[in-house]
């Protein structure tokens, strides 16, 4: 077990390293350079050379990468060439937003998907199941850039229950905070419901057909009891795995929602930085998002190892 954990950790480090290299290279493939954006009308090749030297961009790629990584280990992710805001500063704003969006949206999605799947699994291919399947596909056809404006129109503009834009930090109170996060989270949750529902339903149906379930039934246990006590756990694995990928990609994938609701999360800031050729910000954000993905999925993998006895490795 210990060896297993250790080897997993090594893999995690290796993958994070690969990602950092990848992020660095990709950013430096961007055409144009920040000098043009920063200097503006003062752009001359001479001035550009000076500025690049100032920013440390005149050294070779390997040297730049080295500097970047060393700085990271000192806790310095760099700063924006333009606003001079530090990347860590930007992240300290972005990460709480994304974390909250992810948690709330996935919880909402699960709250809807799990009961639906349980109910459908009990009566497969009957009325409820059919309706549920169709409606979840409807949800998949409702992208965030459609759901978002619709939700805002109804709940913010017409009913005035929640704000239309902006993020209220937790320090301003839990109520305002949740209110500012609920609409974007619902918009994000919609797509996830389908995936979770289908996964769980399929797994539940499969598990329900296993021998041990038949045996439990023959012992006289009620279906509901069996479902909750014996079947949920082994059926939740694909759900967990999918949740891992879903959560991981949402760190940057929520950009549509972030723009619509003016939430400066990672996706929002990443796009902005890419346009401005703000290298360090792009690298920093991409690295953090990717590492978050890796960590989350490794965590879930680990969880699965513990939960699913079939997976235990010697």
């Amino acid at each position: 077990m210990l060896r297993f954990t250790a080897s997993r950790l090594v893999q995690l480090v290796v993958i994070c390293f690969l990602i950092s290299v990848f992020a660095f290279l990709l950013v430096h493939l961007l055409p144009g350079n920040p000098a043009r954006t920063i200097l503006g009308p003062n752009y001359t090749p001479a001035n550009e050379a000076v500025l690049l030297k100032q920013l440390g961009l005149n050294k070779g790629l390997v040297a730049q990468y080295g500097t970047w990584v060393t700085n990271i280990f000192h806790g310095n992710l760099g700063a924006s060439f333009l606003t001079k805001q530090t990347v860590t500063g930007a992240l300290s704003v972005a990460v709480p937003i994304d974390l909250e969006l992810i948690v709330v949206s996935q919880v909402l999605a699960l709250l809807v998907a799990i009961p639906m799947a349980l109910f459908a699994a009990l009566r497969p291919n009957r009325a409820f199941d059919r309706v549920a399947t169709t409606s979840t596909f409807a949800m998949l056809s409702l992208p965030t850039f459609v759901a978002g404006p619709l939700l805002v129109l109804v709940f913010a503009v017409t009913l005035k229950w929640v704000p239309a834009t902006g993020f209220n930090r937790l320090s301003q109170g839990l109520g305002p905070n949740l209110k500012s996060v609920i609409l974007p989270s619902v918009a994000l949750a919609i797509g996830s419901v389908t995936v979770y529902y289908r996964l769980l339903r399929a797994d539940l149906i499969a598990t329900l057909q296993e021998d041990f379930v038949t045996m439990a039934r023959s012992k006289g246990l009620s279906t509901r009891y069996i479902l909750l006590r014996h079947v949920m756990r082994p059926s939740s694995f694909s759900l967990l795995a999918a949740a891992g990928i879903s959560i991981g990609t949402l760190f940057t994938g929520a950009f549509v929602v972030e723009i619509l609701f003016q939430l400066p999360g990672i996706g929002f800031q990443l796009v902005q930085a890419i346009y401005a050729n703000d290298y360090l910000v792009v690298q920093g954000m991409a690295l953090v998002a990717a590492v978050a993905f890796v960590v989350v999925n490794f965590g879930i993998d680990f969880l699965l190892t513990i939960l699913d006895p079939r997976v235990r490795r010697a």
């Binding site: 997993r8 893999q11 995690l12 993958i15 690969l18 990602i19 990848f22 990709l26 961007l30 055409p31 291919n125 169709t134 596909f137 998949l140 056809s141 992208p143 850039f145 459609v146 404006p149 619709l150 129109l153 797509g191 995936v195 289908r198 996964l199 399929a202 797994d203 499969a206 057909q209 296993e210 694995f237 694909s238 759900l239 967990l240 795995a241 999918a242 891992g244 991981g248 990609t249 760190f251 940057t252 994938g253 950009f255 549509v256 723009i259 990443l270 792009v282 991409a286 998002a289 990717a290 993905f293 890796v294 999925n297 490794f298 879930i300 993998d301 699965l304 699913d308 079939r310 997976v311």
Partner: protein
């Protein structure tokens, strides 16, 4: 088998199997393709299936034959007929520039259908092939592929697409398809690899190997039929995601250049609240189209899966 980083356990492939549905992934029995034809077993695939199938075929034909159909030009702007509702002259109405919506939806569906299916199909081929091999023959190649796919998955797709677009201008349907394939392949690879893994240690595979079956035969005859249903079900969701992802890119202005409009473009246009209030049809028709397409495909896939359900097949 060496440990590879995986979000999915090695022995049971919940991600893949789960999505696919009961594919006999748990103590079930390997599939055998029925010797007889599609219609002769259990009374055929059912009316629902054929209705859905014809609807899908109809949609594809409309898209393919768009240029020769007797519909108006999709980009023709008629300022005297702006934001008109459905009439005899404009079956689905017009948009805010006086363009016929029926024609725009049909021409838009061309782009959306291609961007939905092509990357997924290509991804299935690339990722699927690699996944089958990697899952069956775990070895150093498998570890490497697995690690690479994980890195690719972890890396923000948005960034990759934006960077690639930045120096591969102008964005065309082909280039977008290639980029999407790039994004879809790792995911499909992992799904198929996981499914393959779960079957590779099964008795029927061992049995086939014991009887001296060649690897290619094993892959094609034994593993593939089991893997396909899982892959197809997953791929279906992938199609939906691809179509919607293109719309999200259009939202950022990163999709195919004007004036080619995909359904995503049209929906984006229709959903800003000015149009939403003045003319909700602009957003409605393409959304309805996507919904019908996905539902039809889903019903078809479900029916096919239950048709080939291994539970009912005896050895």
């Amino acid at each position: 088998m060496p440990d590879g980083p995986s979000t999915v356990t090695e022995t049971s492939s919940p991600l893949a199997t789960g999505i696919a549905g009961p594919v006999g992934g748990r103590g079930g029995v390997a599939a055998r393709l029925p010797a007889s034809g599609l219609l002769s077993r259990k009374g055929g695939l059912g009316l629902t299936f054929w209705i859905c199938a014809s609807w899908v075929v109809f949609m594809i034909l409309l898209a393919a034959l768009a240029s020769v159909l007797p519909i108006k030009a999709p980009n023709f702007q008629d300022y005297s007929a702006v934001n008109v509702g459905p009439t005899a002259h404009h079956l689905l109405g017009t948009d805010d520039l006086g363009r016929d919506l029926l024609s725009r939806v049909i021409f838009g569906s061309r782009v959306s259908l291609i961007i939905g299916f092509a990357p997924i199909l290509a991804g299935l081929v690339i990722g699927g092939f690699a996944g089958l091999l990697a899952g069956y023959r775990s070895g150093p190649a498998d570890t490497v592929l697995n690690a690479v796919s994980f890195v690719l998955l972890a890396f923000p797709a948005l960034l990759a697409i934006m960077v690639i677009e930045a120096f591969w201008k102008p964005v065309s349907l082909l280039k977008l398809t290639v980029m999407f394939t790039f994004v879809a392949s790792p995911l499909l690879f992992r799904v198929i690899r996981a499914t393959t893994l779960s079957f590779a240690s099964r008795e029927f595979v061992l049995a086939a190997r014991a009887t001296g079956a060649k690897t290619s035969r094993l892959l094609l005859r034994e593993l593939l039929p089991n893997v396909v249903p899982a892959a197809v079900s997953f791929a279906l969701i992938g199609v939906a995601i691809a179509i919607v992802l293109e719309g999200s890119l259009a939202f950022l202005g990163l999709s195919i250049g004007l004036p080619t409009s995909s359904l995503g473009n049209i929906i984006n246009d229709g959903v800003n609240s000015n149009n939403l209030q003045l003319n909700p049809f602009i957003a409605l028709w393409p959304s309805l189209y996507i919904f019908l397409l996905l539902t039809a495909l889903n019903l078809m896939a479900d029916r096919l899966r239950s048709y080939f359900d291994l539970r009912e097949v005896t050895l």
